[in-house]
Amino acid sequence: MADYLPHTDDDVQSMLTFLGMDSLDDLFAHIPDAIRLANGLDLADGLSEPDVAAIFAGYTSANKAKATAMTCFAGGGAYDHEVPAVVKVLSNRSEFVTAYTPYQPEVAQGVLQAIFEYQTLVARLSGLEIPNASLYDAATALVEALNMAHGATGRQKMVISSGVHPHWREVARTFARGTGHEIVEVPLRDGVTDWSSVDVSEAAAIVAAYPNYLGVLEDLSAAKELATKNDALFVIGADPVAAGVLKTAGQWGADVFVGEGQAFGTPLSFGGPYLGLFACTPAQVRRLPGRIVGETVDSSDRRAFVTTLRAREQDIRREKATSNVCTNQTLMAVTAAIQLGWLGTYGLREVATRCAQGAHYLYDQLRALEGVEALSSQPFFREFAVRLAKPADQVIASMAESNVLAGLSVSALSGGPDPSVDVDIDNVLLVTVTERRTKDEIDHYVNVLREALTR
């Protein structure tokens, strides 16, 4: 029997007396007997915190793949970046952690200003003027972008490069069941989107990825042109770390940017909570999904921040809202602001550069290995796909024995065949290098992979 309840038996008694009641059951007396639980919940009794900790110790030891025990070369939208102690400490400040959505700005300036700073950073990294205060993750941010495109164009066709992460595409397909959007996925050739292979007329959105999920840096000018020509919104799903050095979505001409913000201070976390980045052009501001914080003043003319443009939101606009999102991922947004503040202008560039250096250093060695072939000849940033002489999942399993998480199996990621890969997908491995990987670790990877292939 463990809980966090303050009431003593005396408290309960005197409170019931105040209410003119005899027992706690009286409070539930108006619930029809027919549906009342007769014998409580079918759950074991409570355990003390240390007892529960012992159960969880079993779980954590069964998680062999933790980055603290296995060198991580897996990416695909989830990256093993440095998160310094200072960022953990600040983002764990209980004022940030245990606050609700800032409904009363007078006592929520901390969260509001931190979101404002986050928004500024998202705008800068996306090259687009209007950010929002966060969405669940990149995949659902893409869905919001599609909804925005529908709102802007009145059209239903969503033309999506299959260089967009397979999970994001799958999520888009799922939600299209409700919105009725037609999702058209464009195949890749040699790692690059073959826009010419599909009919983009009447498209609401043209969606490209930068770099694409297989790591390739596509030239997005053609896609932009297509979007312009067809009056579609141009949506870019970009790696925000790349934005430290590569062209921004705005520079490529995007109307909407979406991205995954996990790389900014959030640990791998088995996939969540992550951070859906979103920004758009001013033309779309009234269609913005989710919350946005704006600057204003208080009654003494001091600068103050507040959530604004609330008339778009579900609590006011109800079924006509731009989105249904309410609770989003504020703490991750605040964390991203802190992590980016820690990295600073040149730290982010350095991280991006080191990722690219490490990835290319590994790539150059792998190309020399027997049984390894590059999937494409295109330029890439910090991850790349290789075609192995064996199924990727087998290689991953055998490299795991040497405490190396070799990467991601592209067929596992795609859940089967996928228009992004035109060779035997089972043998394709997606390999990622972050700034945390040392030369020794990379060299070790090469040796372990060589072994795995010859075993």
Partner: protein, 503 residues
């Protein structure tokens, strides 16, 4: 001459020492100052221009901010001192269940054995995580009386939309194309918004004078084109829909499904289960009922549990017990597909499981009992100054109304809410649900003591007294907070969403 044009570094912005504003990170920035420190890797430092074609390189440097670690710490620590939180005091926001978030559950989520696991790692290397997900799913089903659940939705609204897509898949699988979803007029805004995104039209059902769904009106709104109804029970007024079985029968009779908005689940833990009320689909807000922290607006988690006839449609892949102590990812046969980029807000899920394990069935039952006790005590304690909109036993929250203060002194509910901030309490939810005039919705939660409730009541008594004596002071409230009443209209008139916005 000082050589330092832009002063900075004062703690005056922290309420500890005054009420000045805190500069932004960008105002603190000084060219070539830095904080970051990276691992020495030994990887050849090839110039980026040799690795990536020039066409891809940004010719400009994207400015982030350039601050020292010390200033970074000071800045965000000072911001934290400008932020109310559960840890500082009572946060009786109705419909939000701002209970105490156990630090133990945070510690669980902070373990690298959980948070350093890559979501794409094969199941064989992440068995601990899969077991957590399966176990949580099983326990949530036990709490709600359902068969299976998806843990992917990242918040309540995401759960709602997922639930509506399940509803759609269910009907469509039978070749049944329905058009409408019913929603009571007291519903939370996410409900109608989700209905639209689910591809349905909203039909609003009025509440009766008891604050409950008007059963006759409901029946007359029903028809073969109704896909289902979304309800929360207790409803958003904090009252239990006593005719829930009749409602369920009526909806089921036309072939519709019942969706349970779990935002108010805290009230009924161990007392009654949505499944037993006849619901087919249930979402839960783990960030409410199961005490995961709100993070200033997320992350949350909105798992959706379903009755047997909907299991095959659940999003996939789902962590599944496939053998003796072995777990794998399995996609339900007719899955609607993923609703999240990975497996949901996993660390939030782990926290919730830890919370459930600590409480157990007995503890969760006490949670609801004490939550309901607190709300009723408060309702009764405040009856003379802020009467309940519906004066009878409520569940975990009580919707009070400030109409009499407004009529007598021109003091609105919002003014009461703002004045409460000066008294050291967070405001209740104001002007929701929409069906109650001058609504002040208090949800004390079970973790507040009766001393705290009494203290809140006394604060409200002082405010009621001020309404009589000096109503103007309430309209000017709050004054003792980091900033005073904020000009929301101005913010909306001229959007300044970033530090770079043109002013």
């Amino acid at each position: 001459m000082s050589g330092a044009p832009f002063p900075g570094g004062r703690a005056a912005s922290a309420p500890l020492m005054g009420h000045e504003t805190e500069p932004t990170l960008f105002e603190m920035s000084v060219a070539s100052r830095s904080a970051y420190q990276l691992r020495t890797t030994g990887v050849p430092a090839t110039a980026l221009s040799e690795l990536v074609p020039a066409a891809h390189l940004n010719p400009e440097v994207v400015p982030i901010a350039e601050v020292s670690e010390r200033d970074l710490v000071a800045h965000f620590t000072r911001l934290s001192h400008r932020q109310f939180s559960v840890d500082l005091g009572m946060y009786p926001l109705g419909s939000c269940t701002m209970k105490y978030n156990p630090k133990f559950c945070d510690a669980i989520a902070g373990d690298p054995g959980l948070n350093a696991v890559h979501p794409g790692a094969p199941a064989s290397l992440s068995q601990g995580w899969l077991e957590i997900l399966v176990t949580l799913e099983e326990k949530l089903c036990a709490v709600t009386g359902m068969s299976a659940a998806t843990l992917q939705p990242a918040a309540g609204a995401a759960g709602e939309l997922t639930g509506l897509l399940l509803m759609r898949a269910y009907h469509e699988a039978k070749g049944d194309h329905r058009r409408r979803v019913l929603i009571p007029d007291s519903a939370h805004g996410t409900n109608p918004a989700s209905v639209t995104l689910g591809g349905y039209e909203v039909t609003t059902v009025p509440s009766n004078e008891r604050g409950l769904v008007d059963l006759e009106a409901l029946k007359s709104a029903l028809g073969p084109d109704v896909a289902g109804i979304m309800l929360t029970n207790p409803n958003t007024v904090g009252l239990f829909e006593e005719e829930i079985t009749e409602i369920a029968n009526a909806v089921h009779d036309v072939g519709g499904l019942l969706y349970y908005d779990g935002a108010n689940l805290n009230a009924i833990l161990g007392a009654v289960r949505p499944g037993d009320m006849g619901f087919d689909i249930v979402h839960m807000n783990l960030h409410k009922t199961f005490a995961t922290p709100h993070g200033g607006g997320g992350p949350g988690a909105g798992p959706v549990a379903v009755a047997p006839h909907l299991v095959e449609f659940l999003p996939g892949p789902r962590a599944t017990r496939v053998g003796d102590g072995y777990f794998d990812w399995v996609a339900p046969t007719r899955s609607i597909g993923r609703v999240h980029g990975w497996h949901g807000n996993a660390l939030v899920l782990a926290r919730a499981l830890a919370y459930i394990d600590v409480h157990g069935g007995d503890g969760l039952t006490r949670v609801a009992q004490h939550a309901v006790l607190n709300a009723n005590w408060l309702r009764h304690r405040l009856r003379d100054i802020l009467p309940a909109a519906y004066d009878r036993v409520c569940m975990h929250e009580c919707t009070l109304t400030a109409t009499s203060l407004k009529n007598k002194y021109g003091v609105r509910g919002l003014d009461v809410a703002k004045a409460l901030l000066e008294e050291g309490f967070h405001s209740p939810t104001v002007y929701f649900p929409l069906i109650v005039e001058e609504a002040l919705m208090f949800e004390p939660t079970e973790t507040e003591s009766v001393q705290t409730l009494e203290s809140l009541a006394q604060a409200l008594e002082r405010i009621a007294e001020r309404a009589q004596v000096d109503p103007d002071s309430l309209r000017r409230a709050p004054q003792s907070t980091p900033v005073s009443r904020v000009d929301e209209a101005r913010a909306a008139r001229q959007l300044i969403a970033t530090a770079d916005a043109i002013r």
